[in-house]
């Protein structure tokens, strides 16, 4: 596809929103701080939502239990980071990153493994039945939350940032939190890996094709259910990674944190166009920016600002910013 064929309009929404609020915020340094915070939040939400949008696109499965993988990832990271206190307490940024990296890997592995079981025992019996999917996946999430309470206890657990990731980098008068820069970098890395996989590998082609027309992919001789299990596991692992990032962002974790983020994720995948990874990125960035801007400008409307954003987008494009063809 050449650049002229690409639909640039949704992509322009992100800078348009950022520039639109600049006069209302007034101070460029405050604006920059809020914008980086919004982009960081958006990137974390994207990491969590990217798997869910593919799960819906591929198999038409409404997984309202996605939040449990977020919470599990976050709790696993409290354990792993707790065991690496010497590393997280170090002033050396590299030692901090070396501690965070295995925490992310273990969280992804555990969440991915739970995803495998979740698909087998909770999702598979209700393929093609949306109402049952909603009920049973929500039930699965509640069970998951209770199991987390059994293992880690019901109380909120602090997840302090490693020493080297605390504080801010000064850019003129703007203070940019170091951790938010890390979140943007991790989000961009996840997006790059996903985009490369989806556009440059045959498995990625199959996923994109399956999102558009499952039946035809099967008619070409591919077992889409196996592909779906793989995507579900990867999506769960990414939610686990997102849980680590979100937990560090909030600096605490609770068993209900996944359920609290669930609403945001669904807003993101609806804005993006169900099944579209690129759309999920745009949706997540918009949601992150909107939450931060309204939190600063109009705190009273911050709670429903993202719903209003979704409504506005759907009035413009009822299928989301990048609708998936053939659906």
């Amino acid at each position: 596809m050449n650049a002229l064929d690409f639909d640039w309009k949704p992509l322009l929404l992100v800078p348009a929103l950022a520039l639109l609020v600049l006069p209302f915020i007034g101070s460029p340094s405050t604006w920059l701080t809020l914008t980086v915070a919004g982009l960081a939040m958006g990137m974390i939400v994207f990491i969590i939502a990217s798997g869910l949008t593919l799960v819906f696109g591929l198999m038409d499965v409404l997984n309202f239990g996605h939040g449990v993988f977020i919470a599990l990832g976050a709790f696993v990271s409290t354990t792993v980071l707790g065991l690496m206190g010497d590393w997280t307490g170090s002033q050396d940024l590299w030692r901090n990153l070396v501690a965070v990296f295995p925490a992310m890997l273990v969280a992804m592995a555990v969440s991915g493994a739970l995803g495998l079981a979740f698909e087998r025992f909770i999702v598979r019996p209700v393929y093609g039945q949306h109402l049952k999917q909603i009920l049973i996946t929500m039930g699965g999430m509640i069970i998951g939350e209770e199991l987390i309470k059994v293992i880690w206890g019901p109380a909120q657990i602090a997840l302090p940032l490693p020493e080297g990731l605390r504080g801010a980098v000064l850019l003129g008068d703007a203070a940019i939190e170091k951790y938010r820069l890390l979140a943007v970098a991790v989000g961009l890395l996840v997006f790059a890996v996903l985009a490369w996989t989806l556009s440059r590998t045959k498995i990625g082609l199959l996923i994109r094709a399956g999102v558009q027309d499952r039946e035809m992919v099967e008619s070409l001789g591919y077992r889409i259910k196996r592909l779906f299990v793989g995507v579900f596991v990867v999506g769960s692992a990414l939610a686990g990674l997102g849980g680590v990032m979100w937990g560090l962002y909030q600096q605490n974790v609770t068993p209900q944190m996944g359920a609290q983020v669930n609403v945001l994720i669904f807003i993101v995948i609806i804005i993006g166009g169900l099944g579209s990874t690129g759309g999920a990125l745009i949706g997540a960035l918009l949601v992150g920016l909107m939450a931060n801007y309204t939190g600063f400008l109009l705190p009273k409307v911050a709670l429903f600002s993202n719903i209003a954003l979704m409504v506005a987008i759907l009035l413009w494009r009822p299928q989301g910013v990048y609708p998936v063809a053939n659906r």
């Binding site: 994109r208 008619s219 591919y222 063809a325």
Partner: protein
Amino acid sequence: MSDILLQLEGVHTHIGAYHILHGVDLVVPKGQLTMLLGRNGAGKTTTLRTIMGLWQASQGRLTFGGQDITALNTPQIAGLNIAYVPENMGIFSDLSVKENMLLAARQAKHAGQMDEARLKWIFSLFPAVEKFWNHPAGKLSGGQKQMLAVARAIVEPRELLIVDEPSKGLAPAIINNMIDAFAQLKATGTTILLVEQNINFAKRLGDQVAVMDNGRVVHAGTMQALADDEQLQQSLLGLAI
């Protein structure tokens, strides 16, 4: 008659509460082009979808090359070297023409691994496929999409090619192009099962013909015999070829 490649014996298909096929008996001889004709709603598309396992036969038996395929699922059936072009063409609009072709080339992991000589032959049949190789398939015209759908089905040699109404909605010039392409495919010995409403298309290509009505095959024989018998055409199809 040549060896039988595909055979349906007393096949019934239910879709939800609806009983669509009422005991279909159909024989597709190897190396020939069999036309499946019939009025709208006769059960032609359902028959093709049942063969592909997209809808499971509730009764009866399907065999392919002597192997019972009644209980196989769609990927297993496609894995027996059967290619299927559905009525809606099944083009992946968000993918490029190249990516559509690559997906059908099961042996190739990337475009460079596709059989170059076969691609050249396909390009000679359908020049639009080469011309729009890197373009999004969704941007193609209806005729070009149909060419891509057939080209994709034959990107690797197949034992059986099943095509549902390839001429539907196409301009006469494109239909002639399509007829030439199927004639060349026939010449390679590929077995083809074609559902068609365009009777001239059927007459020019068909070796064998089966006519369906109310979920059953009500006539089977050679295309030539049907073309020569106006009374039979009138009684089966309500028209003369």
